[in-house]
Each structure stands twice: as structure tokens, then as C-alpha cells.
């Protein structure tokens, strides 16, 4: 077991865990941040996506030891003072979910994309989000939600 200090959603959280434990497992099982989901544990579905230093990262493939060197943002950290982020708001407005299990990862994937590319084309959205599975098949609405978020950001909404 090692002691780590994680910077999660702006707070410094102390955890004891084996160095090789995945960030996903630490978030869910030790910090009770269950908004980050397990889908495959192999980096193939995107359900566990978080932001590490602003970039979408599969938390099932990152050890707690390496995550401790970064700034971590999970789905719980996007809402600020009761106000949803532009991407969260856009997903809600478009109804871009069914069971919602993929939604956390989708939102963080889209947040990362819009950080790098403020006004992505549909092709760029599809390429950036290709690693995320929505088994309910909500992709068309998710694409619309990403476009809507892009417009909200252009109008000055908070990221």
C-alpha cells in the first residue's frame, strides 16, 4: 500500500492504495466518486473517461501513482456553483442519453474535444468520440449535443 494525494475536482484527497491500482478503482471504491463508470476495464468503451490535465483519459488504464501527478476532473467536478457546464447542459437539452451509463464518459470526452477544438465538424466529433460506446444507440443525439455545447461555448458559457 502507498499513500497518495490526488488533486480531484480541485480538492486534495489522500488515499491509501497499492501503487498499481487503477484510477478508476480508486475513484469508485476508495473515494466513492461513482459517476465514473466501469464498462470494460480495457480502454475499449470510454465509460471510465476522466480529464487528466484537461485531456480525456481512460481511468481504467491509469495507475493511481501516475494520476497523482496530474489534475483530475471527474463528472462530479464539472458543475460549478449549481450551474452545469456547457456540455452537461447541452446533453440535458438534447436528451442525449437513454440509460445514461455512458453519459459521464461521453461528457468528459466531449469536454476534452471542445477544449482542443472549439468548433468541431461532425467528422471531427465522430473521430474524437469513436472510442465511446453507447449501447442504447444514442449517437445521433450525442453528436447534436456536442454541436450545441460548441455553440453555447461560443456564446460565452462556462466550459
Amino acid at each position: 500500500m502507498g499513500d497518495f494525494v490526488l488533486n480531484v475536482n480541485g480538492a486534495h484527497l489522500r488515499v491509501s492504495s497499492p501503487a498499481e491500482e487503477t484510477l478508476l478503482s480508486v475513484l469508485r471504491n476508495r473515494l466513492n466518486l461513482t459517476g465514473t463508470k466501469y464498462g470494460c476495464g480495457e480502454g475499449q468503451c470510454g465509460a471510465c473517461t476522466v480529464l487528466l490535465d484537461g485531456r480525456a483519459t481512460r481511468s481504467c488504464l491509469v495507475s493511481v501513482e501516475s494520476a497523482a501527478k496530474t489534475k483530475i476532473v471527474t463528472i462530479e467536478g464539472l458543475e460549478q456553483n449549481g450551474k452545469l457546464s456547457a456540455v452537461q447542459q447541452a446533453f440535458l437539452d438534447e436528451g442525449a442519453f437513454q440509460c445514461g451509463y455512458c453519459t459521464s464518459g461521453m461528457i468528459l470526452g466531449a469536454t476534452s474535444l471542445l477544449h482542443e477544438q472549439q468548433n468541431p465538424t461532425e467528422k471531427q466529433i465522430v473521430e474524437a468520440m469513436e472510442g465511446h460506446i453507447c449501447r442504447c444507440g444514442t449517437y445521433p443525439r450525442i453528436i447534436e449535443a456536442v454541436k450545441r455545447a460548441s455553440h453555447l461555448l461560443a456564446e460565452g458559457a462556462s466550459r
Binding site: E21, T34, L92, C99, T103, R135, G137
Partner: protein, 721 residues
Amino acid sequence: MNHRVEPATEIAQSISPAPRGISELDRRDFLKVLGGGLLVCLTRTSSWAQESGRAFGGNELPKELSAWLHIAADGQVKVFTGKVEVGQNIRTSLAQLVAEELKVSFEAITMVMGDTDLAPWDMGTFGSRTTPTMGPQLRTMAAAARQILVEIAAQRWRVAPATLTTADGKVTDSQNARSLAYGELTRGERLVKTVSSEESLTPAPEWKIAGTPVPKAEGRDFVTGKHKYPSDITRPEMMFGAVLRPDGFNATLASLDTRAAERLPGVKLVHDGDFIGLVAPDALVAQHGLSAIQAKWNVPAQPSNQGLFAYLKNNPESGGDDGPQHVSGSVAQAMAGADLKLKEQYTVAYIAHAPLEPRAAVAEWTDGKLTVWTGTQRPFGVRDELAQAFHLSPAQVRVIQPDMGSGYGGKHTGEAAIEAARLAKAAGKPVKVVWTRREEFTWAYFRPAGLIEIKAGARRDGTLVAWQYHNYNSGPAAIGTPYNVANQLIQYHAVKSPLRQGSYRGLASTANHFARESHMDGMAHLVGMDPLEFRLKNLADPRLQAVFQAAATRFGWGRLKSTPERGFGIAGGVDKGGYVATCAEVEIDAASKRVRVRRVVQAWECGAIVNPDGLRNQLMGAIVQGIGGALFERIIFANGRILNPHFAQYRVPRFSDTPQVEIVLIDRKDLPSAGAGETGLVGLAPAVGNAIFAASGIRLPNMPMAPQSGVPGEPDPSFRG
């Protein structure tokens, strides 16, 4: 391990353990939970009594159907149902129906779903039954409650009930310019009333809340990560469980050494007959413990994909054929006299549900009572499985189903619940079990593989005269043809499935529509008619005609001419009260033979629409999900092992597979609402297959039609998805 063949048919599927009523003890607990307020009870409704004869194989439903609805002093309404929310949006649509009949705002309603201690017994959430059965049930309760509130107000004011009106959660006496909120009427009172089922319901054309695109209930919790799925549940002192799986199906244990695992800190091993599992203080140690177990298994030789369909045809369930499902006229005579004949074998593969949230359960034993939070479409079925496994009465078991990461028919059973309960019992602490993706792909059950043989005959003018149809293993739902054919022989054959199989979204309907609508396309080609014209010529059902015409019009059918690179196809049908017609445009790359679905137009009619936005979401999702089974999804197996138990090897539809989707809704407010979770899926595969045929002249009778690779013993696929 469990290798029993799960019932494949929707008829068999719905044979659940005998339903049980809620005991008096439960009722008292229930009242304690709720406190004061109005409790509406109903002795028995005619719709449920009828349902019992059909759907429960003659089992008696509980005589007492109670406590569907509770109005608190603050006017908040709780509605109780054993149906579960899995993404199909019934938490929203059922609340709309209740709000409509009760005359309260949508926001005043809270649905309490899938909790076996709080909700009346329910068979399960499958078969597109929620809207046509639970909808009217809850509407009846709400209408009864509203009537009681009117009567209470009338007594209080000493006026005739008929002079009072209800709206917005209030009873109003407009003659005397006064009103009372429902909460004011129920405050401090605990009323239990028995009411008749003969309530008059608000007709759909007068709906103000039902029939509108109300956004998903509690939607904000899904974009903030607040919603707790079954796998998110934690309990004080909870431990993590894991179960050792054999090397293959039907394996027997040859040797076992658990010493290394038991040396790990905090690990407790549980070995009981076939069951080998462990609990650990955290999830990582549980996985380490599992890896440290040394077990050797003997796995017997078993069937594989190679030769599967011959195997299905040659291995009937004991008892032999089920007898003809449907016979009219003489197929033999009609075929002999037909001008044009077509014979084909169609197949569908085993496919996986692959819900993004795998099976998960948290079990807790308290004073001999077992509580399990788990993802299941049949909370009462799982309660009974648990009661049986641990020799408890159902009243000693509570199953709670938090809205889950979907199921698609894949979560009817309680494996994870039983495993968690077993480990929790041994550990003396609550235990969580979450299946890995590999476990979910291997140890769940599959959509049945099937073989369908069709022989059909037509006259030169395009009139169908003969239809012979044999379905081996994929199931009897939607096996009949909606087309007029004088001479028919349609038969379902139950067979011994090499893999464990069970329910699936659109189960047999997908296979039967694929086979029938592909064959209809082939017949149209044979008689030299346009595929739409051929269908309409042989079709009398105006509802099915209407969706075909609506889809064709929006799609531009008739104006679009297929080329080798671009094909246009159409298909349709009816099942579970839903009418669907699907037009698909596919693009075929000349060099790589890669098939892409570019555009889909789907017309849909299921009676009066309860929530058009939720309905569109369901239909769009069904189309996207349908692309997987149509083009590339399939389980590859050999000798009791699943060979592609990962998303890297089992291709599911992704963003880049998504076509342009257009949905045309036909809202028949004059007809009862039917369910829409499943039948939206069945038109896609044949429409795509027919489009590929239109482009290439090649009929692809096997689903998936364009898999990523061949399997041993099969020719390489001509097309790739």
C-alpha cells in the same frame, strides 16, 4: 455451473414463479414507510384478470392489488410499480399518464420502481408490456384516487361531487369560488379505500401532459454523475466479492489450490460444491485473490460455430416437434401450381446483449433478512430466485433495482445477486459483486441463434399463393406473416441450444422479420415488381400499409435508383402492437466491399403516443443497435469457450457506424398505446440486406451480413461491416 438452456421463447420466458401477494406484515411496514396520506387500493382489475389467463400460463394473480399510489400531505404523489427503468424512459412516460389522470403536475409525481418491498408484484419489464398493461393499470388507480379526493372535498363542503372539478392538484368548487389542494384533503388522514376498476379514463385527444415531449425524469442526475446505478451502491463495511469461473462451459473441477489466495490480507475464500468465490476488503485484492487460485478444469468437447445450423436442425428438444404453429390451405398444392417459386435458408447468430453496465449486485444480511440491490428486469423473479437459493420465504428477501445501465433483455436472471448474497452470508458483511466485461460476455446468456427455412410461391401477377416457414430455435414471436397468403404452413421448432440462451430486445421478431422481409424482397425481384408495390399488393392491414407509405414517402422511394455502390432497401412488419416500416440506404465500397448504412427512414405507429421525444429516442436507438446484429455482431465459440469476449473482438455499433436517421411518427390517438421498446429494431436488418441486394444482386441470408472476419469452417464473408 449453470449451463441449463434458458427458455428461448417469449411465452416460456414469461412463466415466472407463482406470483405472491404482499403479506399483512409487509403492508404494515409499508404504511410505516409512508406515514399518513391517502392510500388507494383495488381488489382486482379486469385488465389484470384477463392478462393472467394469457401471460401467466393460468397462474392466479394476487387477489389483492394494493398500494399503487400515495398522496402525501404536501401534495407529493408516490406511484409504486414493479416495472423498472433501464433507459426506455418509462419512469417519465408512466408518470405522465398518472399526472394526466390524477390532474396534478408532472413534477408532483415520484415513481417508486422495482423495489419488491414497496411495489405490487410484477412479472418483469420485457415484451414491450409496460405501456399497454402498466399504463392503463396506473391510469385506473389515478382516476380512482382523483374520484376519492372529489368525494372527500364534497363531504367537507357539503356539496354534490358532480359540481366539483379537479386540476393542478386541487379540487375546485367554482360555484362558491373555493378550492383545496390534494395534500390539504389528505392531511392527517390515512385512508384506505377499495375502489372499482371501472374508472373512466381521459381519452388521448384530451391529454395535456401525456402525449407531450416531457424531458427524462431526473435527467440532471445523469449528466452530473449523481445517479446511483446498481454497481454504484455501497453499504457500511462492504466487502468486494469475486467468483472463479471455469475454463469452459460444462467443466468439472480436476484440482484446486487456494492457499496462495487465502494468504492475501483480508481474503476469505468460499468453496461450496461448484461454487468457488472469495471476498476481500477491496476490489483489487479480490481480483488478485482470484488470480492466485490455481484450478484445473476438465472441459468436455462441445459444438462450435462450425456446423451450428445443421446442429440446430438435427437436435430437437426432447418431445420432438411442437406441431404446426399455423396451417391454412395446402402449401404443397399451391406450390405445385405456383408460377414462381423461391426457397432460401436464413440464419441468425448468437449475439450478446453487452449492456454497458455489467451484472452487479450488493447483498446485505440483517437479522436473517436479505436485501439485494441489483440490476435486473425482473426484481420479483430475482427475489424468488434468492428465496429459493437460500431457503427463505419471499417476504424475507427484498430486491431493490436502481435504474440501471440497461439490459436489452439480458438481465432477467439473478446470477450476480445470488453470488453476492452467498458471499455476504459467508463474510458476515455486505458484499458487492460486479461482473467483468469478459464475464458478462461469457457467463450471461445469449440471443438465440436460429435457422429459418422458407419456401414461397406466387402467381405471375404478384399474388402470393404459398408460404412455408420453419424456424429452428430463434423463437416464435412474429413468426406469422402479415401478408395475405391463402396457403400457409408456419412452424416453430424448439431445439437443444449449445449455448445458454434467453430473452433479447426484439428476440425472435428480429430473426423472423429478417427472414420474411428478405424473402419478400426476393419474391418481388422474381415477379419483377417494385418491392414496395409487391408488399402493398399482398397486404390488407391498413396500419401496416400506412407505415410503409409514410416511410417510402419521406425516404423518396421510387425516385432513388440503386447502383453497385449505393443500394436502397425497404422492409416492415408488426409485432407487440407496434407497426414499423424501414427504408435504408447503404454504400458499398467497390474495392474493400465495406458496407456502410448511410441513411435510415423509419415510420412507426403504436397507437396513441405517450411521449414523442422518448419514443423518437427509443426508435433511433433501436435502429443504431440493430446495425450491430444486422452487419457484424456475433459470438464466436468453440468447445465450451467464448472466443471473442471483449469489445475489441465483439464489434458493437459506434459513432462512425451511425447513419442519418429520420423518424416518422404516426400518432393514432384513437387507438390504445402499445409498447415501443423492441419492434423498432426489427425492420433495420432486412432493409439493409435488401439494399445490399439492390446494389449488388447478392442476397445475404445470414445475420450478421458483413462480419469482420470469417469463423473456422465458414467461407470468408463477401462484405465487411
